[in-house]
């Protein structure tokens, strides 16, 4: 390599090698992700959130193994049993084992939470990316449509869709998805609008990169993080919304072992059989908290400002 750094008072050819220049002592050889991972795992609350969710996922996956009873098995001779004995968390008004229902409930929570966010994310990302990248008329039209959806309060919108589709897991997933994509689209669009003007995007275009390549390699990877963080923290919100729908009697059918249903069933027993609504409530709180913590942790870990 030729000597780049020379000068009139030429520091007697002190061999300015690249190695020396670059050898910043603090820069450990880490990839971006391991960096993020390290930051994430340094955050105790975030780890707690992750732990909660991992436990939940395990519970959901292995529900049949973990649940002591069939969650749908009624025992009319033993309804409303207080916690303890055979039924650790008691039984409901049809004599079904509360613990088993709680365990199976985690399945619905996880499936609905994740699937609905997946739906919202997919619609939001596609439309947001179109609006953000192409701008002009496409942008205007998409954003006005987003406004309409944004203006529906989530629950109201969801109820309308469920009215249309009937009760069940799929309608719940779709309805929650359909009424939360607008935020994703807006978020992604604004991210893209700023990323689009970044010099590295210009650089790629200047190199002759195709539009597709520019979007895929440069714009999306850099605008998606915010969306992903939002998505993570929103899974919790979706789970709560799902339980709320069941609570209102428009979610999944009442026989399904689901937390909102359990709370709804226990609601009238307030002050009489409080265990009925308290345990499922606790489950929702813990789950929602898990996602909040995970989302916060991810946000902090991915925030370039905190680097």
């Amino acid at each position: 390599m030729t000597e780049l750094v020379t000068g009139k008072e030429g520091p007697a050819a002190a061999g300015p090698t690249a190695e020396q220049q670059g050898a910043e002592p603090t820069v450990v050889r880490v990839s971006q992700w391991s960096d993020i991972r390290a930051r994430f795992f340094a955050n105790k609350l975030a780890v707690l959130g992750l732990f909660i969710l991992v436990v939940l996922v395990i519970v959901a996956v292995f529900a049949p193994l973990l649940a002591p009873f069939d969650p749908l098995k009624q025992d009319l001779a033993n309804t409303l049993q207080a916690p303890g004995g055979d039924h650790l968390l008691g039984t409901d008004s049809l004599g079904r084992d509360q613990l088993s229902r709680l365990i199976y409930g985690s399945r619905i929570a996880m499936i609905v939470g994740m699937a609905s966010i997946l739906v919202a994310c997919t619609i939001g990302i596609v439309l947001g990316a179109l609006a953000g990248y192409f701008g002009r008329l496409i942008d205007s039209v998409i954003m006005r449509v987003a406004d309409v959806f944004f203006a529906f309060p989530l629950l109201i919108g969801a109820i309308v869709v469920i009215l249309l589709m009937g009760r069940g897991v799929l309608p719940v997933v779709l309805s929650l998805g359909i009424f939360s994509w607008a935020t994703f689209a807006r978020l992604l669009r604004s991210q893209i609008l700023s990323v689009r003007e970044m010099d590295y995007v210009h650089a790629a275009r200047a190199l002759g990169a195709s539009q597709f390549r520019t979007i895929r390699r440069h714009i999306l990877p850099n605008s998606l993080t915010a969306v992903l963080v939002y998505a993570t923290s929103n899974v919790g919100i979706a789970i709560v919304a799902e339980a709320s729908l069941s609570y209102l009697g428009v979610g999944v059918p009442p026989e399904v072992a689901e937390w909102g249903n359990m709370i709804a069933a226990g609601r009238d027993f307030m002050g009489v059989k409080d265990f009925m609504w308290m345990y499922p409530s606790l489950a929702i709180v813990v789950t929602a908290l898990g996602f909040v913590l995970l989302g916060n942790g991810l946000r902090d870990a991915l925030d370039p400002k905190l680097r």
Partner: protein, 317 residues
């Protein structure tokens, strides 16, 4: 600067935004109309609350009365036509004007929402300010922790717990919501708490941001006293994002009202919606949605105007 010109610009902006409002409200009602039309079942096929089917003659007469005998497009057209005059049609059970039915309920919900927003803002800003001022202190940690917790607690749960503790166990508040302030506190608080936590977090982070801003350094360097710096230079700039958030959250608040009103039986539009759904009382459903969408859009307009009023940098265009 030329205040006339500014007023003109602002006037045009408001007109344009109101135009947007019309577009959004029309879009929303159209979506809804399409949805309700596809629903199975004749909304007036049955005598309210019983298993008895209505007499075909009566059904026919009711169809005529509610315009259900006409094609959807015509129904939608006449709905929009009436909407322009502030008429939301008649409900299917009592045949009373929807506006008349919903007006007191809207008022109730508004009461709830306003008190909730007041709670929201007061609790949120106070907590946020304390946390930001005493950064890294016990206060800060407490606020961070409790806001995270509050965000994680869904309102169905919170509402039930509040009811259990304060109504059933302590008996401090009435179970029957009679519209008095006393019966308002619990639902409003339930409705407010999640947003209050978010407001606190936003307030905290914007406070911290503002506290680190150069102009705050300038203010301190000018030798201003702490309260002046805090109130005039920090707080004023921090409330702007809070206001924006509160505006947006109002929509969510209406959604949340469904839950809170159901739990506390607060006779508002949220509860009306849930009831109407059970009864296929479509005019009420459409009415509630139209109202909440319109309220949301109008509030956002107000927030934008407020935003411009508070931050001279924002130019409405």
């Amino acid at each position: 600067m030329g205040s006339d010109v500014e007023r003109l610009v602002m006037g045009r902006y408001v007109v344009r935004r109101l135009g947007q409002l019309v577009v959004v409200v029309l879009g929303a009602t159209m979506v809804l109309f399409a949805c309700l039309f596809v629903l199975p079942g004749d909304p007036v096929g049955q005598i309210a609350g019983s298993d008895k089917a209505r007499d075909p003659a009566v059904i026919e007469q009711l169809h005529k009365q509610y315009g259900l005998d006409k094609p959807l497009v015509v129904q939608y057209g006449s709905y929009v036509g009436k909407l322009a005059k502030g008429d939301l049609g008649q409900d299917y059970t009592q045949g009373r004007p929807v506006t008349e039915i919903l007006a007191p309920k809207l008022l109730n919900t508004a009461k709830l929402a306003v008190v909730a927003i007041v709670f929201d803002v007061i609790i949120g800003i106070a907590a946020g300010v304390i946390a930001a001022m005493r950064r890294y202190s016990v206060w800060d940690i407490t606020v961070t922790f409790s806001t995270t917790l509050a965000i994680g607690v869904p309102s169905i749960v919170l509402g039930m717990i509040m009811q259990w503790v304060f109504v059933i166990k302590l008996g401090w508040f009435p179970l029957i919501s009679d519209g008095t302030f006393n019966s308002l506190i619990l639902p409003a608080f339930t409705l407010a708490i999640i947003d209050a936590a978010l407001v606190a977090q936003i307030a905290r982070s914007t406070m911290l941001e503002v506290m680190g801003a150069d102009y705050v350094k300038t203010a301190v360097a000018k030798g201003l006293s702490r309260p002046v710096v805090l109130l005039r230079h920090i707080l004023r700039n921090s409330v702007i994002p809070v206001i924006t958030y509160v505006g947006i959250s109002f929509g969510a608040l209406l959604g949340g009202a469904i839950i809170t009103e159901t739990i506390f039986n607060w006779d508002g539009i949220g509860l009306a919606l849930v009831t109407a759904i059970q009864q296929n009382n479509n005019p009420i459903i459409v009415g509630v949605v139209t109202i909440s969408v319109a309220v949301f859009v109008v509030l956002n307009l107000i927030v934008d105007l407020l935003y411009a009023a508070l931050d001279p940098r924002i130019r409405l265009a």
